[in-house]
């Protein structure tokens, strides 16, 4: 319920469909408590009723689902979610309802469901695990679920840079940001909460004699006035990475009604020269019997609800603790007019600090109330006392939030006085810690430490710190604690509330010899829930230390890993959905191809036309066959701009090419083009293509579309790493030139209409190249052919590509030909036995391709030495051959294997594999290219052609790879 004099609750929201009202800006947890809702969730494994336990992002219990439908957002912490008008929140992991949850039967049979239960019980029969046990267990245990529909929610990612990253905006963080900002450093202050101030917002402390919120307001105003300080609220730094890189998650739209134009979250990568961790500390619970009932809340959470949000979490609040914060909580409750049922301090000498009943040296040994706390039993050495209460505030001490200091292998150090782990200095290069996360718990100490750290960092970075920072007068109360981890008694004593792990599970792990903390963690799943054991790790460790008779430092800690809070994959991968997944590269003829209704297919990042359908054609095969016939009989036009084009220039260009290609280019005449083969240094084929010599010191290399990037990188590698002495430059010009193949018996005739150059067979022979004018535009012409026909490739600057493609296509159509796409291009090259990366799959050698003669022995080149290794040539190699189907009604398939006719079609009997297939309209049959053991000696053999995947089992004949015009007469016509 709300305390008197709190702002009016004007915001409408629902929880499980029940309408409620909230105060603007408050969290869902606060609003639920204000509306008297204590039972908000069912636990992960035993489906126990659970309530709100904290007021921060470490909340283990109060996970809810926001919204319904495709954009559902599960596992949202009610303690982080701010209420907005129209918010619909739902409880999770309960059916049919939160109050009557059928799966709560798990809790009744819990003695059988302890740690390791699944491992021991669901062993046999083995096949049952996947089909029966796991699905059933998964349905029974769990948190919120996704909609399994496409999620339209917008996420964003961003990059930030600064001199000093201040992580956390509590008293230490504010002081650090102020000091660094005043020194002139570029500061990013990242703060998880919606409001700056940290724990001070939840306390009634004074700074400089005035309420702490006055100091917060003044400091925030000073920071906002500095242009060099960027304040990022609702931003959690989730990970520390190498060289000062930090990940952060900004909740951009979570606190507002959903809008299409506002991302829900933004994932930041922040690069900081230095960082100051001011992440504060997390209060820890105490493990006592049935310590998980709704209404049992951490003392710091109770103070947050009372002091910050004006909400009383109960009408009669008992407080149980082992340190002075128990008393601080009681005093605050009294000040707010809330009845304090009792304060139970486990320390014997404790003194009351206000007008409340104190039970010193007592412990809570039992609790009552299934859906909400109704009372506790307190045991002292002499008696058991029953106390009626509907809320129990617990404080087991504080754990510094040192998680980020462990993200790069750092290990924390145990501090006996604080009974807590504290960070090890320099665990993350460039990151220092200040305030509560460093074990400095009083406000005055936080402010002093942070100011000093920030001033030191600013000086290190070269900024002038003009005067010593002024530290305002603040609370100096010492932190006094006597460790209390465990209270004995009947009932389960919960440690990890989010994964339902209790003390007995840890003891069982130790009993079964999982005594290493890492083993205990995995055996019990303690600390493996989304909260990563923020409220349970240290307590579980203490219990393990106790049952194994070791000290806590001897027992060690588990490893804290990023992310500090759960991060949606959608946020990390923001922008990479759908068309954002990969860049799209379009050729200059893209619009013209779409205009002809060509289906576009992906070729690497490029999009290329598959075929150009005409009216009356109902299958791609019909279009493809027609386009093949254009090229074989008339003329076809195809955009080949996607092939890599690399300009190679310099006095040593020829020497360079001789080194990267197996064959010789220094002997290539000016105005001529040569086919080249490129190996990797291990002797296998990397890529192939033609290279034209346009000048004495000027070549243009083409690569395959698939390997263009790889070859470019390789050329730079050779130039810079292997042969830095050569005077040669390489540059990719793929995007600069639009290039079209014009292929077919009438290609010369067509091109004569667009260039004034003499392209007769005598003046421009096969493999000739050079500059030409293309309707007045300076272009290039190469007489090369990937189809085996008389053919040219004509290139113009990319800005003319669209109009030239339209012109060439129109003219080809006027002659009875037309544009052709990838399907026809593929058929044409298979008929001629020309290779692509379907053949050059990384395992193939020049010998395999029948190109051994192209590897010059007169010079060194990349891959030459290793290509000569035993095993890379000879009859044991799979050599490239052609295959053609013997029966006419069977389709061949790439990926099939070849077997002797009598052999069983199993892997060990495979004689070869098929890389490319097509129906050849020219030869009227199914043909393909294959790699067959000792293949060149087996031309004419009949083999079994088996594709188990597609159910094909037929016969084929082995033939030479060049199946059409084997003498190559057409290309020279």
């Amino acid at each position: 319920m709300r305390l008197p004099n709190t702002p009016e609750a004007t915001v409408n929201f629902t929880f499980d469909g029940v309408p409620m009202q909230a105060v603007p800006g408050e969290t869902l947890a606060s609003a639920l408590l204000a509306n008297g809702v204590k039972h908000v969730a069912r636990s992960f494994k035993y489906h126990r009723p659970r309530g709100i336990m904290t007021a921060g992002s470490e909340e283990p219990n109060a996970l809810v689902t926001i919204g319904r439908g495709a954009n559902i957002d599960p596992n949202v912490r009610a303690t982080v979610q701010e209420v907005y008008e129209g918010l619909d929140a739902y409880s999770q992991n309960a059916w049919p309802s939160l109050r009557f949850d059928m799966m709560a039967v798990n809790d009744l049979i819990s003695p059988f469901l302890g740690a390791g239960f699944y491992y021991k019980t669901f062993m046999w029969p083995k096949a049952f695990w996947e089909k029966l046990y796991e699905p059933v267990i998964r349905r029974a245990a769990g948190l919120g679920g996704l909609s399994a529909k496409h999620n339209e929610t917008l996420y964003e990612k961003a990059f930030g840079f600064c001199d000093v990253l201040v992580i956390g905006g509590g008293p230490a963080g504010l002081m650090a940001a102020l000091t660094a900002g005043q020194a002139g450093a570029d500061v990013i202050l990242a703060h998880e909460d919606s409001a700056l101030g940290g724990q001070l917002l939840s306390e009634r402390e004074m700074i400089e004699g005035a309420p702490a919120r006055d100091w917060i307001a003044a400091t925030v105003a000073a920071l906002e006035a500095m242009p060099n300080v960027r304040i990022m609220t609702r931003t959690t730094v989730t990970g520390a990475y190498d060289q000062g890189t930090f990940a952060a998650l900004e909740r951009v739209g979570h606190h507002l009604p959903r809008r299409d134009d506002l991302p829900l979250e933004c994932f930041w990568r922040i690069v900081a020269k230095r960082a100051i961790l001011c992440a504060g500390a997390l209060e820890r619970p105490i493990a006592f019997p049935n310590n998980d009932r709704p209404g049992i809340i951490l003392a710091s959470g109770v103070r947050a609800y009372v002091n910050r949000w004006g909400v009383a979490p109960g009408q009669a609040v008992a407080v149980f603790g082992n340190n002075d914060d128990a008393h601080r909580t009681a005093v605050d409750l009294l000040a707010a007019g809330v009845r304090v049922a009792a304060v139970i301090d486990s320390r014997h000498g404790a003194q009351a600090q206000g007008d409340y009943q104190l039970i010193a040296g007592g412990q809570v040994t039992a609790t009552k109330g299934r859906h909400g706390l109704t009372g506790v039993t307190v045991s002292t050495e002499t008696e058991d006392i029953q106390i009626s209460c509907d809320c129990l505030a617990i404080s087991g001490g504080w754990n510094p939030s040192l998680h980020l200091t462990c993200h790069m292998n750092g290990r924390p150090r145990w501090d006996e006085t604080l009974a807590a782990f504290v960070p090890t200095p320099d665990a993350v290069p460039g990151l220092v810690t200040a305030g509560a996360c460093n074990g400095t718990f009083d406000t005055s100490g936080c402010l002093t430490e942070a100011a000093e750290m920030a001033a030191t960092i600013a000086k290190d970075l070269g900024f002038v710190v003009k005067k010593k920072p002024i530290i305002p007068a603040a609370d100096t109360s010492p932190y006094q604690i006597v460790p209390l981890w465990l209270v004995e008694g009947r009932g389960r004593k919960w440690l990890d509330f989010q994964n339902d792990v209790h003390v007995k599970d840890v003891a069982l792990a130790a009993q079964e010899n999982f005594v290493s903390v890492e083993h205990m963690k995995r055996y019990t799943t303690q600390g493996m829930a989304p909260d990563q054991g923020k409220s349970s790790n240290v307590s579980a460790l203490a219990v393990l230390a106790d049952v194994t008779g070791r000290s806590i430092p001897e027992t060690g800690t588990t490893t804290y890993r990023p992310p500090f809070v759960p991060v949606a994959i959608a946020a990390m991968g923001a922008g990479a959905q759908g068309s954002g997944f990969a860049p799209e590269r379009f050729t200059t003829s893209h619009a013209a191809s779409l205009g002809r209704n060509a289906p576009m297919i992906e070729a690497g990042l490029w999009y290329r036309p598959s075929y150009f359908p005409q009216s009356g054609e109902t299958t791609w095969q019909q279009s493809c066959d027609r386009e093949v016939e254009y090229v074989r009989n008339v003329v076809g036009v195809c955009d080949v701009s996607t092939l890599g084009k690399i300009d190679v220039q310099g006095p040593d260009a020829a020497v360079f090419l001789d080194f990267v290609y197996t064959n010789t280019f220094s002997t290539l005449k000016l105005g001529r083009t040569r086919y080249g083969l490129m190996l990797r240094e291990d002797g296998h084929v990397m890529d192939d293509g033609t290279t034209a010599r346009l000048g004495d010191d000027h070549y243009v290399m083409t690569t395959t579309t698939a390997a263009a990037g790889q070859v470019m990188r390789h050329l730079e590698y050779v130039r810079q790493v292997l042969r830095p002495g050569l005077d040669v430059q390489v540059a990719s010009v793929t995007e600069q030139w639009a290039q079209f193949a014009v292929a077919g018996p009438r290609s010369r005739e067509l091109l004569s209409g667009v260039t004034s150059a003499d392209i007769s067979n005598e003046a421009w022979p096969f493999m000739g190249c050079g500059a030409v004018d293309v309707l007045g535009i300076p272009g290039r012409l190469f007489r090369i052919s990937f189809s085996g026909e008389l053919a040219y490739e004509i290139a113009v600057p990319a800005r003319y590509g669209d109009s030239l493609f339209r012109l060439l296509t129109a003219q080809a159509e006027a002659m009875g030909g037309g544009a052709y796409g990838m399907e026809a291009l593929n058929v044409l090259r298979i008929e001629k036995g020309f290779i692509t990366h379907a053949e050059i799959d990384g395992r193939v050698t020049a010998f395999d391709l029948g190109m051994d003669a192209m590897v010059s022995r007169k010079k060194d080149c990349i891959g030459q030495t290793m290509a000569g290794r035993p095993g890379l040539h000879g009859p044991e190699r799979r050599q490239m051959v052609g295959v053609c189907a013997i029966t006419g009604d069977v389709k061949l398939s790439a990926g099939a294997h070849l077997f002797e006719q009598a052999a069983e079609s199993v892997r060990v009997n495979s004689q070869g594999h098929v890389t490319s297939v097509c129906y050849s309209p020219t030869l009227d049959g199914e043909i393909g290219l294959a790699f067959l053991q000792n293949g060149r000696a087996r031309i004419g053999e009949t083999l079994r052609f088996v594709d188990h995947l597609r159910g094909i089992d037929t016969l084929c004949e082995v033939c030479a790879p060049v199946m059409f015009d084997p003498k190559g007469e057409r290309v020279r016509g």
Partner: protein, 87 residues
């Protein structure tokens, strides 16, 4: 991870392409023999500590660089242009 390109300055590692051990700088002569070529192509140490490897600033200036770094601490100690490395 951040790498300081000698030409462009400090950049995110996403701008770089990683190839592996800087042994690649010492290419044997064609007649160096099988053992030398085997080492060059296939054999790599996997040190816990200082290592030298080759990266390309592919999404930047295209420079191939030799990165001296420590596989235990992740410190990047030195970055030099591969073309300037004496060999």
């Amino acid at each position: 991870m951040r790498i300081t390109c000698p030409l462009c300055g400090e950049r995110d590692r996403r701008e770089f392409y990683y190839v592996g051990d800087a042994v690649a700088l010492r290419r044997p002569s064609p007649d160096a023999g099988e053992a030398a070529w085997d080492d060059y192509i296939h054999n790599r140490d996997n040190p816990a500590g200082d290592t030298q490897d080759l990266w390309q600033h592919e999404a930047g200036c295209g420079a191939w660089v030799v990165v001296d770094r420590n596989t235990v601490t992740h410190a990047v100690n030195n970055v030099t242009l591969a073309a300037k490395v004496t060999r």
